[in-house]
């Protein structure tokens, strides 16, 4: 789709307004409920274990450059690094893209400063490994093995390297928490990591961890937006069925094209 048709524009406007509306109502102090997401509750446990063992942790924000999944990954990094700084535990951030690397460094530095231990921050712990997918993976394998990582966090957009990271992490005995919007990689995290957050739980993570009203409101707004999609689909199914009974199912498919046409 090159440009929005009128129905599409209206549809997008409804979704956006629902999300924004909920954000603003949450900011005005409306209290909101979020269900439990087990994988995210495990983050504290993972940091705690690394602290007990006195070993470092590793965070990978995925392979992508600056885009929406990476922004979310960085915002999760912020929360985990804060916990790490609180417990004075070393956090190695392995990045695969220069711009992401600079932001990650900035985030880590701030997290340690905010917890009052700026001297704990070691610039060498935020590393740019490689922009090449498997050179990056080989570097992560090296870090996991040599640094004897006790907890590994993988949040971001991953590709094939997901299993290399997760399985190596398992072999070195790290406790692993992972989440990615890259749907085909989720099964690998489920099999090899200890805790995996699935699908858009990834986008719920920062709200869940920070409990900031803006993010909570957004999450509720997302639920409403998804409800609109569900209702649209149900309406489409009912219409298609009625038309199908009335004049044949192929005809019903053609009629419903108004939603996307003119392309």
């Amino acid at each position: 789709m090159d440009h929005a048709t009128l129905p599409v524009a209206v549809f997008l406007a409804i979704l956006s307004l629902l999300i924004l509306g909920k954000i603003f109502s949450a900011r005005r102090g409306k209290s909101l409920y979020i269900r439990k997401i087990p994988g995210l509750s495990a983050i504290d446990e993972a940091v705690g274990r690394a602290t007990e063992m006195g070993k470092p942790m590793m965070f990978s924000p995925g392979l992508d450059g600056l885009n929406l999944p990476t922004l979310q990954a960085l915002s999760i990094l912020k929360h985990i690094t804060r916990i790490a700084a609180k417990y004075r535990t070393r956090m190695i951030v392995a990045t695969a893209e220069p711009v992401v690397y600079t932001i990650a460094e900035e985030i880590s530095k701030e997290a340690y400063t905010n917890e009052g231990v700026p001297e704990q921050f070691n610039a060498e712990d935020v590393r740019f490994l490689s922009g090449d997918q498997f050179a990056y993976a080989s570097g992560c394998v090296g870090i996991l093995n040599r640094e004897k990582v006790a907890a590994s966090f993988m949040f971001g957009y991953f590709y094939a390297e997901s299993l290399i990271l997760a399985e190596t992490g398992h072999q070195v005995g790290a406790i692993q928490v992972a989440g990615t919007p890259a749907i085909v990689q989720i099964p690998f995290f489920i099999t090899a990591a200890d805790y995996t957050i699935i699908g858009d739980e990834f986008y719920a993570a920062s709200a869940y961890l920070s409990r900031e009203p803006t993010l909570l409101g957004s999450l509720v707004g997302q639920d409403y937006a998804k409800a609109v999609i569900v209702l649209t689909i149900l309406a489409g199914v009912v219409t298609a069925t009625l038309l199908g009974i009335h004049s044949g199912w192929e005809h019903s498919l053609n009629w419903l094209k108004w939603f996307t046409a003119p392309s």
Binding site: M1, D2, F134, A160, Q171, I183, V184, S263
Partner: protein, 276 residues
């Protein structure tokens, strides 16, 4: 711990060694395997057959040496089919290694089937991936202007195969051979705007993503990975690397299944013992 219980704790190194063995053995002593053809591959085959003869097919190469084991045979099978049908095609590559490999394999197959570069097919050269989106917007309007020159630097206007090929309307098929999964861009810009049929040839790992657009009619067929290539080779009645690799592929799958079953036997017997 008895033998059965030990089955749930097989050392990974033993598994790795077994895997290396079951893959090497059938490569050294070739075993032939029957290949079945899935509906998605049949659809792809039919889409290629049905392409109007006066139009040109475009084979998109977006893969490098890493996935050559899958994408190489897919590319070769498509090239062979188009040659056999006497249909013109162009190759356009978004990866420098893939570009060279596709060129070499088209030359080899072309020699075998007496096809001439520049007349029966053309290679539009390697385009940096960063140019993908701008190209997807510009080339439908003016192919020659957007693609500029062929792989040897000859201006496309001077290549005989390009005669009569002006806009996307003269292109009857896009075959996207990819390890990257940029299909959404082709759907959004090419199928979405011009309804040009797309045949998707992904590596098996990104293949599950193809079922959604296949169902939505946004792509007209699919060769999922090496097995898709082997099925296509069977429809073409040729035996390439894909067909040879079916032996080790089966063997490795059998190994996984045996290991999973062994692990579960171990798990069950350990649980029984704890229970009793």
């Amino acid at each position: 711990m008895n033998f059965f219980e030990r089955l749930q704790h097989i050392d990974r190194r033993i598994m790795y060694l077994l895997l290396a063995l079951v893959i090497s053995a059938p490569l050294i002593w070739t075993i032939h395997q029957p290949v079945t053809v899935s509906p998605a591959v049949k659809k792809a085959y039919k889409t290629v057959e049905d392409m109007p003869a006066d139009k040109m097919a475009v084979i998109v190469i977006y893969w490098g040496s890493g996935t050559m084991a899958e994408t190489g045979p897919q590319t070769s099978a498509l090239i062979r089919h188009l040659f056999k049908l006497n249909k013109k095609f162009a190759i356009v590559a978004f990866d420098p290694q893939g570009s060279k490999f596709a060129y070499d394999s088209a030359i080899t197959i072309g020699d075998e089937l007496h096809k001439k570069y520049g007349v029966d097919w053309v290679h539009w050269g390697y385009k940096p991936p960063a140019n993908l989106l701008p190209l997807l917007q510009s080339f439908p309007r003016d192919v020659v202007k957007a693609m500029v020159a062929d792989i040897n630097g000859t201006p496309l206007a001077e290549v005989p195969a390009m005669k009569g090929i002006k806009t996307i309307r003269d292109i009857g098929l896009i075959a996207d051979v990819t390890s990257v999964g940029e299909l959404d861009a082709w759907i959004a810009y090419i199928y979405g705007s011009y309804k040009t049929p797309i045949v998707y040839c992904p590596t098996a790992v990104i293949a599950p993503e193809g079922y959604n657009p296949l169902d939505a009619g946004q792509i007209k067929g699919m060769l999922p990975g090496l097995q898709g290539a082997a099925a296509y080779e069977r429809l073409l009645h040729v035996e390439g690397f894909a067909t040879v690799a079916m032996g080790p592929l089966s063997a490795s799958h059998v190994l996984i299944i045996v290991l999973i079953i062994a692990g579960n036997i171990g798990y069950i017997s350990a649980r029984r013992r704890r229970g009793s």
